[in-house]
């Protein structure tokens, strides 16, 4: 039974079955990029999103220079196509990570590519907080920092989870692109074999794996967001 299944797979996916270890490695590399770049990006983006929210005009720590600077920087990096960012940031990547290739080498451009996007997502998540809640918290004597943690973040768990979901998924797209400059991962795998050598089965399997990954992330995100909605 098991053997016949293996035979079937070998017949259907001849190229993939010959490169299974490489396929696993590519999947793990993608996961690694996702986790590392994602974690850094979420930490930074959360901070930037909060700073944008509180320093904007009429915010609880209104500060024009800080807001304007951050706002412009984020716009700048959001408008640079990721493929350009990948090559342009190579020197910086060598400086920080010691290399510009493989998983290590692509973390920096991934962070630069996804953080501005996530910062905006956080900003818009926090902007959904009812102004009245901020006013009520101020009237109860909360300090701005207290309001950030006890009102903004606490009340925005669901929208922030949704922002993380969206960003995780779009980051997955970026990791595939990063394969093009030698990062490895599923994108690289699909291009090298599926595209360059016309091994259609590899392209298909890669797509299926990515679809499954996206579905899992989306499902988890929705579940978490719903749990935090009252």
């Amino acid at each position: 039974m098991q053997e016949s299944l293996l035979e079937l797979l070998k017949a259907w996916l001849p190229n993939l079955m010959k490169r299974l270890p490489e396929f696993w490695k590519a999947t793990c590399d993608t996961l690694l990029m996702e986790v590392w770049a994602g974690s850094i990006c979420f930490a930074l983006g959360l901070v930037f999103g909060i700073v944008l929210t509180v320093t904007k005009p009429d915010g609880i720590m209104e500060n024009r220079p800080v807001y304007q600077t951050l706002d412009k920087i984020i716009n700048l990096f959001r408008s640079i196509p990721f493929i350009i960012l990948l090559t342009a940031l190579m020197p910086l990547s060598r400086l920080i990570m010691g290399t510009a290739i493989y998983v290590r080498g692509v973390i920096v451009p991934l962070v630069f590519g996804a953080t501005p996007f996530f910062s905006r997502q956080v900003e818009s998540a926090l902007a959904q907080t009812d102004k009245g809640l901020i006013e009520a918290a101020l009237s109860m004597g909360s300090s701005p920092f207290e309001i950030i943690f006890r009102v903004y973040l606490r009340e925005s768990v669901a929208p922030i989870v949704r922002a993380i979901t969206i960003t995780t998924i779009s980051l997955l797209g970026l990791t595939a692109m990063a394969g093009a400059v030698g990062a490895g991962g599923l994108g690289d795998f699909a291009i090298r074999y599926g595209h360059d050598r016309n091994m259609v089965d590899i392209t298909w399997v890669t797509v299926v794996v990515l679809v499954i990954a996206v579905s899992i992330v989306q499902w988890l995100g929705d579940r978490l967001a719903r749990k935090h909605t009252h």
Binding site: G132, A136, L138, G141, S142, S143, R150, R154, V157, H230
Partner: protein, 365 residues
């Protein structure tokens, strides 16, 4: 004012003192800033319920936010219990705000927290242990008669219940002042009545000083003893509720009083030429207005009718209790001998009734 609603301390003590408060907003760039609050001075006594009434956009919400400095005045002084609020350092200001509760039109409860967690919100950093906080929350919720909802989420509550939770939360740090910003404007009339009763009870039992912002004259009439009328950022009239109601001076105040009085219908009746106010020859249409000082215990109308042998046909009447006094009036058609009508009207004037002849169909002597 009687001592019924406050602990007797002998003399009136100013608790909130605003002097020449100005707050402007630059809503449109390149245009001169608009003054939402323009040179307002007022004092609120310890233990009283003070009303600020005005149409929307009059600046009353901005004014009340100048008390706890949610809006920082451009100029002027804000003193709470003798302390100049505008001079406080941030940290001291946060502490001072804990002693000034505030409730809002939209309740502003945090949707992600249960009722109990909402009420406990301001208790963090109060020095109470977890156990003490829990007990305090229970007490507060019992005080506003909603003790059974401690684990419910705000989305499960009705408007009136939400406002009760908001009141409990505002009282968590035992404030001396409660600011109410259109607290009943989102509620139906019945719930409004219940919330106002609760506020009045709290004022009495806790000696809580309240500043009540509203556009509903009904609210001011029900719970305030003193009030100010605001228009275009300025206070146009202020004083005892009774005086404001019985003798409104500013057109804005008159407008507000009219909105709550049935007697205002008279003008409509006259304009429409209603048969109810059509006079026959020799009759006089009068409006009789009662003040706080009018002795309404006496049967004034029937006395006047009997003594002067005239008939009074009451067309409209509206008398109500404001600040424990009766005010209001009647509109009546007086029939009888011309001289006797004059006598009857004079008799009423002597009894402190304001008499206004609206239409006179007597043949001039």
């Amino acid at each position: 004012m009687d001592g019924g609603c406050r602990p007797l301390t002998g003399e009136e003590q100013d608790l909130i003192e605003l002097e020449h408060v100005v707050r402007t907003f630059c809503s449109v760039p390149d245009k001169p800033p608009v003054a939402a609050v323009n040179d307002v001075s007022l004092t609120v006594n310890d233990g009283e319920i003070f009303g600020i009434i005005g149409f929307s956009g009059a600046g009353k919400s901005t004014l009340v936010r100048c008390i706890n400095l949610l809006e920082r005045p451009d100029s002027g002084s804000v003193k709470i219990d003798g302390v100049e609020m505008t001079a406080l350092k941030p940290r001291d200001l946060y502490r001072a705000r804990r002693k000034i509760g505030m409730i809002f039109q939209q309740f502003n409860l945090m949707p992600s927290r249960t009722v109990g967690q909402n009420v406990a919100y301001p208790l963090k950093g109060s020095g109470l242990t977890r156990e003490q906080q829990k007990r305090k929350v229970r007490e507060l919720l019992d005080l506003v008669e909603i003790g059974d909802k401690v684990d419910a989420y705000p989305s499960e509550l009705s408007g009136g219940q939400k406002q009760r939770v908001a009141i409990a939360r505002a009282l968590a740090n035992d404030p001396t002042i409660l600011l109410c910003d259109e607290a009943t404007s989102a509620l139906d009339p019945q719930t409004t009545g219940a919330i106002l009763r609760l506020l009045k009870d709290l004022n009495r039992s806790l000696g809580l000083t309240m500043v009540v912002i509203t556009h509903e004259m009904e609210v001011v009439k029900t719970i305030c003893r003193r009030a100010a009328v605001m228009d275009k950022g300025e206070i146009v009239e202020s004083g005892n509720i009774l005086d404001i109601f019985s003798e409104p001076r500013h057109p804005m105040t008159k407008n507000f009083v009219r909105t709550t009085s049935h007697l205002a219908k008279l003008d409509d009746l006259i304009r429409e030429g209603s048969p109810m106010v059509q006079l026959r020859e020799g009759e006089v249409l009068v409006r009789l207005t009662y003040y706080g000082q009018t002795k309404v215990e006496e049967p004034l109308i029937s006395s006047a009718a009997r003594r002067f042998d005239v008939d009074l046909n009451i067309v409209l009447a509206d008398v109500e209790i404001v600040a424990d006094s009766m005010i209001g009036g009647t509109v009546a058609i007086v029939q009888g001998d011309s001289g006797k009508i004059d006598g009857a009207l004079q008799f009423l004037r002597d009894k402190n009734v304001k008499v206004k002849v609206i239409k006179d169909a007597r043949i001039p002597a």
